[in-house]
Amino acid sequence: MYGVTVTELIKKMSLKNILPEIDTDKVVLAHPDVNRPALQLAGFFDHFDRERVQIIGYVEQEYIKTLDPETKMERYDRLLCSDIPCVLYSRGQMPDEDMQNLCYHYQVPCLVSEKSTSELMAEVIRWLKVKLAPCISIHGVLVDVYGEGVLIMGESGIGKSEAALELIKRGHRLVTDDVVEIHKVSDETLVGRAPDITKHFIELRGIGIIDVKALFGVESVKDSQNIDMVIKLEDWDKDREYDRLGLEDQYTEFLGNKVVCHNIPIRPGRNLAIIVESAAVNHRQKKMGYNAAKELYNRVQANLGLGAPSSL
């Protein structure tokens, strides 16, 4: 299971820690969401999302002020004994003394942010989503070609790294060679990055490891990139059918997200880099609303239906 510590949250969001005595390294956030405990403070604890960051905004704070001291203590106690990860006050509001004492008693970190509540919520959720995104590591090469993230896959030794090198020489950017860490940031977006150990390195059979950043400069590498399409390289198999038109997209799946996928047969003499480049730019054109295969289809149909002159 993935997790981030409250210490990281404090650092990232520049929060003020009211009770620095509490060890925030041990408190792990595993849920990419927040809760505003307004209903809980009003005494309703059914379906309480206790594992989330509890954000107390202006409304909650004002409501607490209307409670008599006994009720307030009882609600605070119930909230804090529920094993919540932390209490976070927005707008620079200071937690009252009872809250601080109870937080200390239950060892719950108590934090304050200067940001407005909705801004803080959006920031925390966005950051947690990225940090806690499901992640897998796969075998492949990720390059940024004309701004499209192209993931090249295929068996060991088929020429992925060589294709990447050629693409780099043509002015495209390498994200990672051999191992791609894929993070599912949302239902639509997959982000790929390199493991720290092998970042910016390529292995070429017969030469060994080369450092792309040192050899070709900063402009030839990139730290992370959305994955827009997948290219699967495979040995040419004459019995298999390969896409000749491109009228329908084929997809492959990572972590439940669909990505456009092209199976490309390789044979000696086929220039892989230029094929990858064309696939990327064609994908881009499709996204912009023009599909060459459809255009050809339309022309053929028009030719049949209307008997259009061949001098078209």
């Binding site: 897998i136 075998h139 051999d178 092998t198 390195f201 292995e203």
Partner: protein, 85 residues
């Protein structure tokens, strides 16, 4: 498909040279060979992948092989990792 837990017996663990050696061994076979440890699953024929594992002596990983020569592949890899070869 074969799957096996192997404990690393190489005294230096999976350092750069032993990794290169292991990849050499794996590459001699046609089978698909993977090494797993924790969340990571990497192709045993990929040098860069194996480098990211960063495992020391005494740690255990899962080796899996699938293909016509899976038994021979598994055998050799296990021998190498355990340190008897």
């Amino acid at each position: 498909m074969l799957k096996k837990n192997v404990t690393i017996g190489l005294t230096s663990g999976l350092e750069v040279r032993p990794v290169a050696m292991l990849v050499q061994i794996a590459s001699q076979y046609d089978s698909r060979i993977y090494v797993e440890s924790g969340n990571a699953r990497v192709n045993a024929k990929s040098i860069m992948g194996m480098m990211t594992l960063g495992m020391g002596a005494g740690e255990t990983l899962v080796v899996s092989a699938e293909g016509d020569d899976e038994e021979a592949a598994m055998d050799e890899i296990e021998k190498y990792l355990v340190g008897t070869k």
